[in-house]
């Protein structure tokens, strides 16, 4: 039985990414190794208290550092010190009311504390500061769903004691996703808040796909929605996509190509849904950039194992945006992955190439 969509809240992945990129740049001249970058790494490894130590060290040197404080809030949130985390973000919203991210994360914490009205107000503030701030919009949608769930629980006298545990798990997962961000997601918003951080993005390897938990995941694991959507369309640097050339004025989008690409990625998703690993892998080009610099064979084995994992799944795509340049294309869409234990909706960007009349995936990134 497929369970209902359980809304979750995206702690501000994008902002965090931007932090990690800019931290390297801003503090590079000060000292090495960089405590904030280390904190990031430690957080990704689940070592929150060590991560917190690093952040505290950075804050001792520079108590006003907004990024350090933001990261501290995220770490505290993940440590489930929600009140402390909320205090950090509240302070940030007071000092920098033009930034949507602290509002957004504050909303995530309020939502976990079931203070839905406050969460709603915080998200509305995030949207007011940046009307097109996608994460806040999505969170608001999830919040409504969560509030609806709570209303239904009250209506139907359903015991929702474990909703707290659910929310906590959601947060953890979000941060896990945040640990493997797309290479170049760099929201304009945060760049503005952190003056002149034009350093190149670190070479982080994207995950091949949002990864559902293993089939033997703990039973308590609720269905969650993992979204690693960057708030704004990332600027893909040339390094990440060696084949892409500057746009030429002659490159009129070929409708036939778009149609063929659309068919190809729908078939790719269908093969995934149908657990047809062989077909699924056939959509990847020979020169597909295997993530984590793994060997192609190892990656194929891993994907085969994941794709054929028992249990009903459904992968579907929406909001497909295709940009064709000759025999290359950039395809962005929202990927919905639903299984009995796990639901996700994540932004995906595929770099595709046409080989022998077939459109194939050359690069696959989380984020749009």
């Amino acid at each position: 039985m497929r369970r209902s969509n359980s809304p979750c809240f995206r702690i501000c992945v994008a902002a965090l990414l931007a932090l990690s990129t800019s931290i390297l740049a801003t503090t590079a001249q000060a000292q090495s190794p960089n405590p904030l970058a280390e904190a990031q790494t430690l957080l990704q490894q689940g070592q929150q208290s060590q991560a917190l130590d690093k952040v505290e060290r950075a804050l001792a040197a520079n108590p006003k550092d907004r990024q350090a404080r933001f990261l501290k809030g995220v770490i505290l949130a993940e440590m489930n010190k929600l009140d402390d985390a909320a205090a950090v973000f509240v302070k940030l919203t007071e000092e920098a009311p033009e930034l949507p991210e602290p509002y957004n994360n504050l909303a995530v914490i309020y939502a976990q504390q079931k203070q839905f009205d406050k969460a709603k107000a915080a998200l509305e503030m995030a949207i007011r500061t940046h009307p097109s701030y996608a994460v806040a919009h999505e969170n608001l949608g999830d919040l409504y769903a969560k509030m609806a769930r709570q209303a239904y629980d009250r209506a139907l006298q359903i015991d929702s004691k474990n909703t707290n545990a659910q929310a906590k798990l959601n947060l953890l997962r979000d941060l896990t996703t945040a640990s493997t961000p797309p290479a170049a997601s760099k929201p304009v918003i945060v760049a503005a808040a952190t003056p002149a951080t034009k350093a190149p993005a670190p070479a982080l390897n994207p995950q091949p796909a949002s990864q559902p938990p293993a089939a033997n995941a703990p039973v308590a694991k609720p269905p969650v929605t993992v979204v690693a959507t960057a708030p704004v369309t990332p600027v893909t640097p040339a390094a990440a996509q060696p084949a892409s050339k500057p746009a030429t004025t002659t490159a009129a989008p070929a409708e036939d190509d778009k149609k063929a690409i659309r068919t190809a990625i729908q078939a790719w998703a269908a093969a995934w849904s149908n657990k047809n690993a062989k077909e699924y892998l056939s959509y990847y080009a020979k020169d597909f950039q295997v993530p984590d610099k793994k060997a192609r064979k190892a990656w194929e084995e891993e994907r085969t194992q994941r794709v054929t994992k028992p249990g009903e799944i459904k992968v579907s795509l929406s909001d497909i945006d295709i940009a064709v340049k000759g025999s290359e294309a950039t395809v962005r869409f929202k990927q919905h992955y639903d299984s009995s234990t796990f639901n996700s909706a994540s932004g995906k960007t595929l770099a595709m190439v046409q080989r022998n009349g077939r459109w194939q995936i050359q690069q696959e990134r989380i984020g749009r």
Partner: protein, 371 residues
């Protein structure tokens, strides 16, 4: 018709539904949230709120889109919504009178009429015998519906009753709310029909509950605590009639007046014929199926004849008359009065009850007894 319910939750729910029809979902949500501030345990309102919130994230498919919801609870809330909306919409016209309240006693300040089909209770004021609408409220009835016959059949009785007392909360427990008013089920007529069971009350709901589903009780009539509070101030123990109907019949004032006049005339004719000491004329008011305790019509007639022969005069006064029609297909009326009987050799005052039934176009007495 103006009344308490115009300010109650059903009026608001009706407005919310109108808002939804007109696609004013934000207005509907605000209205629902205001309603919940007033009645935090109003589960139906929570359900509507859930729908209105969910409508912001996805298309709705039904009323009550809660996934994984226990189907029975969802069905209960849907039923409640239907009953509340229908009951509020179908409230009686201004000049309509429930057929049952033919003659209220002077000291019966109010009367209650319950419609199990509409899940609704109507309160009437006695204005010199004429019932005037005061208020109406949503109620719950027995799980198995109306027309109780047997102990444990989970049905609500249909008939003419009165509240016989009041039970305080410490005696009844939270489940029944702040107080309970027992009814005199089974009444004489019920017993004659072989109906049994006991403990049919008007009562409230637990603290964590605003209202229960339309069919929820073991036969009791259940009101929201606030509604029962409001109703309590009108109730006179042992006096206020409680008429439970499985579908109230409403009469125009003219028809009501005609029916009332016809019956009062028959009752007056019975009284006068008794005074006349013409026992044949007197007995003509009694049905062939008449019973009073162990006596049938023949035994009753013989006794009256024996008594009358020794008397030079009889004077009968009927005071504090109440004439309440029994709900149902049969033309049956419960008549209660204080009988002041004086005669040449014996006088007494007694509280009497009769049941009159229409037989071949004429009202006849089928039961008579002392209260």
């Amino acid at each position: 018709m103006a009344g308490v319910s115009d300010a109650g939750p059903d009026a608001t729910i009706s407005l919310i539904m109108r808002d939804i029809d007109q696609n004013k979902l934000d207005v509907a949500l605000t209205r629902t949230e205001n309603l919940l501030r007033l009645y935090p345990n109003f589960r139906l309102a929570h359900l509507i709120r859930g729908d209105l919130l969910l409508a912001r994230t996805q298309a709705l498919t039904t009323f009550g889109n809660a996934s994984n919801a226990p189907a029975d609870r969802l069905a209960d809330l849907r039923d409640e919504a239907v009953m509340r909306l229908r009951g509020y919409k179908n409230r009686p016209a201004k000049d309509a009178v429930p057929r049952y309240l033919l003659q209220m006693r002077e000291d019966q300040n109010h009367a209650i009429v319950v419609d199990t089909q509409q899940s609704r209770l109507y309160l009437y004021r006695n204005d010199k015998g004429r019932p005037i609408f005061v208020a109406d409220w949503y109620i719950s009835q027995g799980k198995a519906g109306a027309e109780k016959q047997r102990e444990g059949d989970n049905k609500t009785p249909v008939g003419v009753y009165q509240v016989t007392g009041v039970m305080p909360p410490e005696k009844i427990g939270d489940f029944y709310g702040k107080r309970a008013f027992p009814l005199n089920y089974p009444n004489e007529w019920d017993k004659m029909q072989g109906r049994n069971g006991h403990g049919i009350w008007l009562h409230g709901v637990p603290k964590d509950t605003f209202a229960r589903p339309p069919k929820a009780s073991e036969g009791c009539v259940v009101l929201a605590n606030q509604d029962l509070d409001a109703l309590s101030s009108y109730l006179q123990i042992g006096v206020t009639p409680v008429i439970i109907s499985n579908g109230v019949e409403w009469l125009s004032l003219d028809d009501w007046q005609n029916e009332r006049t016809a019956l009062n005339k028959e009752i007056e004719s019975w009284r006068a014929d008794w005074e006349s000491r013409d026992i044949n004329k007197y007995l003509d008011h009694y049905s062939d199926r008449f019973r009073s305790g162990n006596q049938n019509r023949e035994a009753w007639g013989k006794q009256k004849r024996d008594v009358a022969t020794g008397k030079s005069w009889i004077k009968v006064d009927v005071r504090n008359l109440s004439v309440l029609r029994n709900p149902g297909k049969e033309d049956l009326v419960m008549v209660s009065f204080e009988q002041d009987y004086r005669s040449s050799n014996l006088s007494n005052v007694a509280k009497k009850r009769q049941y009159w039934a229409k037989e071949g176009g004429r009202w006849k007495i089928i039961y008579e007894g002392t209260l």
